[in-house]
Symmetry: C2
Amino acid sequence: MSDKQTGRTMPKAQNIADEVRRRIVELKWRQGERIPDEADLAVEFDAARATVNKALQVLADEGLLDRKRRAGTRVAINPVRKATFSIPIVREQVEEAGMAYSHRVVAQRFSPIPAQIAARLGLPEGERLVHLRAVHYADGRPYQLEDRWLNPRAAPGLQQAGFRDLNANEWLVRNAPYLRAEFSFSAENADRRDARLLQTRQGQALLILHRTTWNDLGPITTVRVAFQPGHCFGAHEGRDQGSNT
Amino acid sequence: MSDKQTGRTMPKAQNIADEVRRRIVELKWRQGERIPDEADLAVEFDAARATVNKALQVLADEGLLDRKRRAGTRVAINPVRKATFSIPIVREQVEEAGMAYSHRVVAQRFSPIPAQIAARLGLPEGERLVHLRAVHYADGRPYQLEDRWLNPRAAPGLQQAGFRDLNANEWLVRNAPYLRAEFSFSAENADRRDARLLQTRQGQALLILHRTTWNDLGPITTVRVAFQPGHCFGAHEGRDQGSNT
DNA sequence: CTGATATATATGTCTATACTTATTTTAAGG
DNA sequence: CCTTAAAATAAGTATAGACATATATATCAG
């Protein structure tokens, strides 16, 4: 009843979480039903309450359980579950695929922000930020296109960095950690400029990612990324195989 | 130094996490640098090591810290951070926007799966599954289009459910909890059929979401969702404001 | 019956302590 | 010098105990 998957002994809390998950998936404990309280589960699994608590917190974070003081723990009625994806550094992504990375800055100037960008950043319209447009290439073929606005007030040292050599993507990752980020995915038909820079035809469906990041000084950057046609962006949910914990 | 944001006293572990995050964002502790060990931080913050451990685990899960036994804790070199988004129930999403929800099943039959679907599900080509195509409407206008394959072997009771009345999306959420899910976003130009069902023109860029879910009996369902033109899908990262914990 | 108040209870959080385990560092042996 | 073994160390995990806090339920006054 402990370590079936690998030969390794799993932590007790994880075994408990797995078993509870199993009972939910196998409909032994159904949606909305109350499950035994921590004290009872602690007895059943021969563990301390703190251990059971940790296991159930994990499941609550996953959205599988709803927990409330005094009211107990219930299987979530509609498991609004959260999927995760990670934002890789473009160069690493390209190189990991065994291709040669390069990038080209198409335009870079200090200019007043249009209304749409101002709204997204929460800054007054007309404020002057660094506007940067660049193309990332994989083996010489366009890989993605970025149209970015940078806020020097939130990223000290930004003025010095000339993005001809080091790309903005990478400079930001290494020099401007953020506290909060917002994303959105959408689809757009390539306009004339998109088509030219991505070397595709006008009207081609493009996957568009908007991303904005903030730190405690304010908005750092907002970017519109247009991916090469056919590119897809993966995410997943469930046991996290590798990495930490 | 405790509760600045709200008047409420925040848990100690969260204060510690916030403070460490602040030090990273303000570059007091830089990328790749080793930070004090749990015991030292416990002294600094006047907390038990377990509390510090919990705070740092959170940051490690966020991808902000790299932790290794004996080697200590370092600020992540390239913070491959994870963004989360949630998959809402279509009907609720529509109704929350104050619109009337309806849906229509376009086709439903038991048929052998094509190679591409077989690959995605990990099932042999030609296996017979339920194939379902439906349109979701908001205030009578097409909202999204789904093309779904359902595996009755992994979802007992599925055969009985006729999806004319109850939509598949909702039936699955309530009756077939899953253990693992995979997603991908992409963009496609609407083909003739997409255009007709979404009442748009052929060639229109559409945001496409592929999603596949599994439980311990195997793959449950895989679906291709085509959103109405202009629709975007949001995600975010950072302190999670509401809900659990 | 209604509304205010008290009580009970399940989860939330923290602590001190202990032991485990991966990994680095050091020491020993060839 | 290289290889191997031992020691040291920092995180990983578990535990019993304690107190905090939200909230469901019971109790009581009107």
